[in-house]
């Protein structure tokens, strides 16, 4: 430190006593002291001109000081060439003068850099960092050097110098932040966005760090979105700021305190430059038409991309509820995001309602086609491919010139394939090959292969899948091509072809994205070929992972052990499975629990070890495991003589159930209470004590808060309330719909609601509810009976055309159960007679008489109808 403090030391000088010379010298020194470097340099220059050759001046000690002060004055006054020349001479002439060498070397390097003498600058910096590695100013040298390398696009070298800066622990906290930001900028220039994000993540203190993050976050998030790094985009989007906030931060930028020590001046100038750079970056961002709307769009997209659908839905809701101008400009984006978020969460009804709301409120909005497309996607998502295709056809014919037309046609063809219309889908995919860009060809080929496969064109399918594996496509699509081929070989159990294909796949995709899926196919092949040991080995290996494929492998293992009646293996597998789910804090595997039940009933021994039993029992009591609660209770009941000891109870099972229910009742744990109480009710039901069973359920009705109940419990209670026509029945059924709108039990609940409405004389309402069941739950088991009921209601309400249309549609469906077919024939025949289609009425009645004679009630009605038709 003292080296620098003394660098400009001018306390005494050897020119004292030489008057003319001293006057001139004093004037120069005085100017330097008064911080008038230009004047000082002129005086030094004159001094040199008049007295430079005097022996006193040429004397060693005086010359050293003269050269040093003159050189520094020249640098300070901007006479860089002169300053550099003088100071370099000083360095050369005073090799043993250690006192100011570091300071002078630093100043020369700086001056060379300022006067674009890059090579000389780097030479001086190199000597500086080698000779004075202990000085903190090495960090400054490396920083300047990094900036120089960055300006020359030598990014690796720039990064290496900045790493040296970051390793300097003596930098103040704000200096560290600036260095990290500078490093992030180098990363960005280098295209290494992940590293930039990492460095910015470390900047987490103060306004400076906040500004740098806010300035760089939008472009970072954008890059990550483009590069398919949604997690990075999400992290960067967390740093977004509003323009107002940025302006406030600009005003709050820290100012640097005054300093006079030369060493502090060096640092201060550096920080000043860095802050100036930040300032100008921030101003550029603000001047560049920086829009909050755009940031919100990015935020919504990153939430969706990073699999944060629930959060995307919540933010969309806030935007839709906001009355601000900003929210108005984001309306269609918010709707689209909300719909996509609901789709991702498989909340199809919610997605449909959002789209309907939008379509009703903004029928002329420019975003209408996008929302209509999303609506079709919702139908496809819930596997209602007929509706999806129908919606797509309407969309395509309404907006034939839309920019997304090709994308829509591809989607529509895909859904057509899913709906079983493989041939027309194939025609469309082949036609699209000539209409779309080259990069989409592999995908079209892949879809065509699927179409061929679905329409039994196996050889064409093989050839097309093989094409996909060889085309210039994304690795994921290429792997899908391999999987398509493997599935064909698996279906035909063509061992050599399967073996060769799997080998080829593993060679070209050693660590493929779908590696586990291919392993599963391999296991299936061995299983079908009868090599169960080999299949089990592969399933076991896959099951050690996580996710749906691992879950599938676990299920397969369970199935194989059960089929082989290998109960020790079944036991080991089931217990391991349950334990791993507990460890992961996931839901209990219903299949694993069922295996336990199977083991106990077959082997006749208790399966659960004491510790696991207690964990499960505690989980049930704390409502953690309510979803598998009934199977767990079944297990306990089956071997109660063993489990009661471990649970430290002397009660019989039924009393224990009652005690547990009473405990949960007292503490208000409704969820757990409902599991115990309903299990008890089901026990009574099995004993034939139906009234007692219902008494238990009814007791629950008055006790529990319906909102706190799990899906199955609420369903049972709502059904009980409906059965006894309690006043709260409608409320409970509606609560179920509100709370579990995507539950597979929903259509059953809706049917009950519709029937209640009909009973209450609300015919329109009853039909509307039933129409919802028929249109939204075509994949449900309740679909056919609901549709038949609706056709009957249409007829009763005089809506004959609707009744006839629906009956006709039902009769065209494949796989109708006999009773429902007979009922539908009868409804259509009745409508036919009323509408004068006597011939078809007679035919339908004859058909019932011939084919469905076992349904006496329908036979009687058809006989009456036949009589009426014959009389007519």
């Amino acid at each position: 430190m003292s080296v620098f403090l003394l660098a400009l030391g001018m306390a005494s000088h050897p020119a004292d006593g030489i008057l003319p010379l001293r006057d001139q010298w004093k004037a120069a020194v005085l100017a330097l002291q008064k911080n008038e470097p230009a004047k000082a340099a002129t005086r030094f220059r004159e001094f040199n001109h008049w007295y430079g050759n005097e022996p006193e001046v040429a004397e060693g000690t005086f010359r050293e000081r003269f050269q040093r002060l003159w050189g520094l004055a020249s640098l300070q006054s901007g006479e860089l060439d002169e300053g550099i020349r003088l100071l370099e001479a000083w360095l050369e002439e005073n090799p043993d003068h250690s006192r100011f060498r570091a300071f002078i070397r630093f100043q020369i390097g700086l001056a060379c850099r300022s006067s674009d003498r890059a090579e000389e600058a780097t030479r001086h910096w190199s000597i500086f960092v080698t000779q004075y590695p202990e000085l903190p100013e090495c960090a400054l040298v490396h920083w300047m050097w990094a900036e120089l390398e960055l300006s020359r696009s030598s990014l690796a070298s720039a990064k290496a110098h900045m790493l040296n800066v970051l390793s300097e622990e003596r930098l103040p906290e704000s200096g560290q932040v600036l260095a990290l930001a500078a490093m992030a900028l180098i990363d960005l220039s280098n295209g290494d966005h992940a590293s930039a994000l990492e460095h910015l993540s470390k900047c987490n203190q103060g306004t400076v760090s906040q500004i740098w993050r806010s300035v760089l976050a939008p472009s970072l998030a954008n890059q990550f979105q483009t590069n398919g790094n949604p997690e990075g985009a999400f992290q960067a989007s967390q740093w977004f700021s509003t323009p107002t906030q940025l302006r406030r931060m600009l005003r709050e930028l820290p100012s640097l305190s005054h300093t006079s020590s030369p060493r502090q001046v060096i640092w201060k100038n550096h920080w000043k430059n860095q802050l100036g750079y930040l300032h100008s970056n921030l101003e550029n961002v603000l001047d560049s038409g920086f829009e909050l709307k755009h940031l919100y769009e990015m935020r919504l997209q990153t939430l969706l991309d990073s699999d944060r659908a629930a959060d995307a839905g919540l933010l969309s809701r806030a935007l839709l509820e906001s009355q601000s101008d900003l929210a108005r400009t984001l309306r269609s984006t918010a709707y689209a995001t909300a719909i996509r978020a609901s789709q991702m969460r498989e909340k199809w009804n919610e997605a449909n309602e959002l789209a309907d709301t939008y379509l009703d409120a903004f029928p002329d909005d420019p975003a209408l086609p996008d929302i209509l497309f999303l609506q079709a996607k919702t139908a496809a998502g819930r596997k209602d491919f007929f509706t999806a295709v129908d919606r797509m056809e309407k969309l395509i014919s309404r907006f034939p010139e839309n920019d997304s037309i090709i994308k829509w046609r591809i989607a529509a063809a895909g859904w057509r394939l899913e709906s079983g219309q493989a041939e027309s889908a194939l025609r469309e995919f082949i036609e699209l090959e000539s209409a779309c860009r080259e990069s989409w060809l592999p995908y079209l080929r892949f879809q065509a292969a699927r179409c061929w496969k679905a329409s039994s064109g196996i050889e064409e399918a093989k050839s097309a899948f093989r094409d996909v594996t060889q085309m210039k496509a994304s690795p994921a699509l290429m792997e899908q091509g391999w999987i398509g081929l493997l599935k064909i070989h698996l279906a035909s159990m063509d061992g050599p072809a399967f073996g060769k294909t799997i080998q080829d796949y593993r060679t070209s995709h050693a660590d493929g994205l779908y590696k586990e899926m291919v392993n599963m196919l391999d296991a299936s092949f061995h299983e079908l070929a009868g090599d169960l040991d080999r299949a089990t080995g592969i399933y076991q290996q896959v099951s050690t992972g996580e996710g749906p494929i691992a879950d599938h492998a676990l299920n397969q293992l369970s199935r194989i052990h059960a089929a082989r009646e290998d109960y020790p293996a079944l036991r080991e597998h089931a217990l391991k499975w349950i334990q791993s789910m507990i460890n992961r804090n996931s839901r209990l595997p219903v299949r694993g629990l069922s295996d336990c039940v199977l083991y106990q009933s077959t082997v006749g021994k208790a399966i659960l070890p004491a510790a696991l039993l207690r964990t499960l029992s505690d989980g049930l009591d704390s409502s953690r495991f309510t979803s598998g609660g009934d199977i767990l209770l079944q297990l306990l009941m089956d071997r109660w003589e063993v489990y009661s000891v471990w649970l430290d109870t002397h009660s019989d099972f039924e009393s224990w159930l009652k005690d547990k229910a009473a405990q949960h009742h007292a503490s208000g744990r409704w969820s757990a209470l409902s599991v115990y109480k309903l299990f008890h009710a089901n026990l009574l039901e099995m004993d034939g004590r139906h009234d007692s069973a219902d008494t238990n359920r009814i007791a629950l009705l008055s006790l529990v808060d319906a909102n706190a109940l799990p899906d199955s419990s609420l369903f049972q209670l709502a059904v009980t309330a409906d059965k006894y026509d309690f006043p709260e029945a409608t409320l409970l059924l509606e609560t179920f719909i509100g709370k579990y709108s995507e539950s597979p039990r929903c259509p059953l609940v809706l049917v009950r609601l519709a029937k209640r409405a009909r009973k209450g004389g609300e015919r329109d309402k009853s039909r509307a509810i039933m129409e919802d069941v028929v249109s939204d739950w075509s994949d449900s088991t309740a679909f056919i009976s609901s549709a038949v009921q609706l056709a009957k209601w249409y007829h009763e309400d005089g809506l004959l055309e609707k009744s006839e249309f629906l009956s006709q549609q039902l009769l065209e469906l494949g796989g109708m159960p006999p009773r429902e077919t007979a009922e539908t024939l009868l409804i259509r025949a009745t409508v036919d007679l009323a509408q004068g289609r006597r011939q078809r009425c007679l035919l339908s009645c004859k058909r019932i008489q011939t084919l469905y004679s076992s349904f006496q009630d329908i036979m009687d009605e058809s006989r009456n109808l036949l009589r009426k038709a014959t009389d007519v």
Binding site: S214, Q238, F240, S241, T242, Q245, L292, L295, Y296, R299, L303, A309, A310, D311, L314, L315, R317, A318, L319, E321, S322, Q323, S324, L326, A327, R345, E346, R587, S627, D705, N707, A708, P710, D711, S712, Y740, E742, S743, P744, R745
Partner: protein, 228 residues
């Protein structure tokens, strides 16, 4: 000097004794003249304060009717000064926006000290003053907080709901969102709770205030619940 202050001033000369640990005010009279000093009391429609000049101080009284606006320039560090300010309640309407903002900041101190009944009382005083919208929303939110902590959930919920029409969800404070989330949890509305708990961190800029951790706790299970 006496003439300039006219009939409205009471002047006494006293010696300054030590450091003033009290509320410092600055104000403008109806005639445009400014005044400043240490607030002493408000009585009989007069405001009394100690004005210091050099080593001496004067106690000055000005009728409320002559005060155009008042600023609070300094307050003791702890929220207990609010207790001392209670006698000056009639002056509150004279406080300018900045002073009202300062007061509201101090009310948050009361909340941090868990002085819920006092917070309720003070928000009541401040609600009586016609203030700027944002300040009024802050006061109502603090009042709802006090109510909630005093066990009056329904009243707190109603008070917060009353802000819905004026408070944009993109602008709602972290405190407002946190309170809404808490009430929703108590009312067994998990989706609603999740919405309010998540909202502050989803907006731009993401909320990073002192309630961040508590909001995060209320977001509960991050995985989407799906029907079994």
């Amino acid at each position: 000097m006496c003439e300039r202050w006219g009939l409205f001033c009471i002047i006494m000369l006293t010696q300054i004794a030590g450091h003033l640990d009290a509320i410092q005010i600055k104000g403008i009279r109806q005639n445009g003249m400014t005044f400043s000093g240490q607030l002493i009391r408000a009585q009989d429609n007069f405001i009394e304060f100690r004005s210091n000049t050099g080593n001496q101080s004067q106690i000055i009284g000005i009728p409320f009717s002559q005060v155009q606006s008042l600023q609070v320039t300094d307050v003791p560090g702890e929220s207990s000064w609010l207790v001392n300010l209670e006698p000056f309640f009639p002056l509150l309407p004279l406080f300018d926006l900045h002073a009202q903002g300062m007061l509201i900041d101090q009310l948050e101190g009361l909340a941090n000290d868990e002085q819920w009944s006092r917070l309720y009382q003070w928000t009541g005083y401040l609600q009586g003053i016609e203030g700027e919208g944002a300040a009024s929303d802050r006061i109502t939110t603090l009042r709802a907080w006090a109510l909630l902590e005093m066990g009056l959930r329904q009243l707190a919920g109603e008070l917060l709901a009353s802000l819905e029409s004026s408070l944009d969800p993109l602008e709602a404070s972290g405190l407002y969102c946190w309170l809404r989330a808490r009430i929703a949890i108590e009312e067994n509305l998990p989706e609603e709770a999740r919405y309010w708990a998540a909202l502050p961190s989803l907006r731009i800029p993401a909320y990073k205030g002192n309630l961040s951790a508590r909001l995060e706790e209320l977001r509960s299970d991050p995985s989407d619940p799906k029907p079994s």
